[in-house]
Symmetry: C2
Subunit: 385 residues, 2 copies
């Protein structure tokens, strides 16, 4: 196990009908901005529930936060916070609305150009506007972590930042809020959570027994849950377990004290920024290709993953590792998620464009060893053709 | 899965040489009371390390906190805090010192008689004195939770309280600090952590996939670690994993959203208060007896435990459950911890005394169903003879 710091002060309120707890969680008399995405928050009644729990507060609404929230859109919210002296925010939605709210939280009181938050990874964040979340889409884990990813449309850049001052104060996790989600968002959510776990687990062994077994717990649960989540829309228990798995997948716990990869995410971000492929779907393209290209470096962990998660025990270590990669691909396909660039009409000639963007963003030494240079990224993308 | 609230803001600093981080974690210019137990904190140099990290603070020392910290002793610390305007505390030690410090944290600013904190379970705690911990003995999980157990010597009472205001601000977990621990404290620590997990896991199934698998992860890790922890005193990785398991065993995570038992602890507390048997050793007496007496109510979970933790698959469910209980007893014996009252020269006639104490403390409906009345406690104790 490596040295680590673990800190996560987000208060989770889990269960049906928990939105009303907001009344006690938001300081009374605070001036609240409620951020949300499209019309679903309105149509499902969730927004109304939030507003009625805020009967003692002044409430301003800010809708239209995009999937892959943009710098341009979130800066409109920053203006509203500044002009209206907003002192608390609530994000109602999935990872996009929450990530966007984190950016607003940091940017509204930032003394310099807020774009700097993204180019410096959040290093200089000072005071922030506190916020809570009401999660409607289990996927990103943003409801219980301090990270955020923002897209600058004009610059075709998708960049991230982290800071302990942007943990949500609370997050309401009501599994029934997922009942109305379209199947595509659910399968994307499952794939996203799956890859979050893999980015922190599938590196090399460091004798981190708890972290490894926790990660395997989450992978096993997701694999068991996926068919139920996708076929039974009103099954409380499978939605509850899925929601808690997705939160645990990226709240810092399984990644504390272990090496982490994240190359799949970095390469995937370029695919979203360039070709508008759903975030989770980019991960399903890159992960299996990366595992194949880095198979020898990751062999020990691939074998552990094969045995403990997929119950694959027959064959040489290399064969076991290959079978584990095949099972991973099969799992994505079981979610109706394709795993090749060609499934999105991308060809060999597009790879140069992607690699150029990686270079432009300084993403030249990725992975747990920092040895995924541009050439290796190119190999991974070729493997994914 | 049941509804739950999960909140745990303790910042964990994990690894060798982390004590120096205290310099940045304690507010500068604060007036610090450092609490510790016997001479080991002094002899091992840990206390000196803490003091030198506090070079910018005024420091007062308070030693002599007992195993099973007493109300009487901790009230001496409360007086010191009040008289010296202490505004930060650091507990250096194991669960006893940390539990004692939590009581001081709450009692020093308590407007009424501090004894009320224990008779009301902490319900009316208001402002507290913030504190951090330097853990030297992995066992109780107190370093990352908000619970505390205090013994009133004169009243022969061992009572507990919980409150979100007594989470440690930070805890330093340096596995090398365990190198000098005597074997008995290590085996007690392993047993204590094991039973903490079982109290939250071995009830009845509620479809809490993550919580169940996390609990099993911790049990499997402890079982794998125990021989190494007890035989290799300077093995960093086994001590690090043990330390992290013990913290995870009782930081609220595996118990969130599931029924909990805790009857073993309540009955065990009486054994400690009456006969001065080490806390962990009382648990090893009560747990197997309780599992036997409640075997039919707990059968589904006993079978799951047998299969996933002990790899027992042959036989009827009842036989599988019985074998799992036998393995549990064998595990305690492998730690050199006896599991019967007779091992401590207690006889049938002592059971009345214990049950009378349970009655006196109102412990008449224990367990996840509240159905362990005095008669059932008596049966459990008879089973443990």
């Amino acid at each position: 196990m490596q040295h680590f710091d673990y800190y996560n002060p987000t208060h989770i309120c889990f269960g049906e009908n928990r939105i009303k707890s907001i009344e006690h969680l938001v300081p009374s008399n605070s001036n609240v901005l409620v951020l949300f995405g499209g019309n679903s928050a309105k149509n499902t009644g969730t927004l109304d529930e939030v507003i009625s729990a805020l009967s003692k507060n002044k409430v301003t609404l800010f809708g239209g936060v995009e999937a892959n929230p943009t710098y341009e859109k979130m800066m409109e919210a920053v203006e509203i916070v500044r002009e209206n002296n907003i002192d608390f925010m609530i994000a109602v939605g999935g990872g996009s609305v929450i990530d966007g709210t984190k950016f607003v939280s940091a940017a509204a009181l930032y003394p310099n150009d807020p774009w700097e938050i993204l180019t410096t990874g959040g290093k200089h964040i000072g005071k922030t506007v506190p916020f809570g979340t009401v999660l409607t889409l289990p996927a990103t884990g943003s409801e219980m972590n301090s990270g955020s990813v923002i897209t600058h449309t004009a610059k075709q850049s998708k960049l991230s930042f982290m800071h302990r001052a942007v943990f949500p104060q609370f997050s309401i996790l009501d599994p029934t809020k997922t009942y109305t989600l379209p199947k595509k968002q659910l399968s994307n959510g499952i794939a996203d959570a799956f890859v979050h776990i893999m980015e922190q687990y599938l590196t090399h062994p460091t004798n981190a027994m708890v972290q490894d077994r926790y990660a395997e717990s989450l992978l096993l649960s997701l694999i068991e849950l996926a068919p139920k989540v996708l076929s039974e829309s009103n099954d409380y228990q499978s939605r509850a377990n899925f929601m808690w798995v997705a939160t645990q997948a990226l709240n810092g716990l399984i990644g504390a004290g272990v090496p982490q990869d994240w190359a799949t995410h970095v390469i995937g971000h370029e695919l979203t920024a360039l070709y508008d492929i759903d975030h989770a779907r980019t991960l399903a393209i890159v992960l299996p290709a990366l595992l194949s290209v880095k198979k020898h470096h990751k062999q020990d962990k691939l074998v552990q993953y094969a045995k403990r998660v997929w119950n694959i025990t027959e064959g040489s270590d290399d064969e076991i590792a290959q079978q584990a990669i095949k099972q991973t691909i099969k799992f994505f396909h079981s979610l109706d998620i394709p795993t090749q660039l060609s499934d999105y009409q991308l060809e060999r000639k597009d790879i140069n464009t992607i690699v150029n963007q990686l270079e432009k963003h300084g993403m030249t030494s990725l992975g747990e060893h920092g040895d995924i240079d541009l050439q290796t990224s190119q190999k991974i993308l070729e493997q994914a053709l």
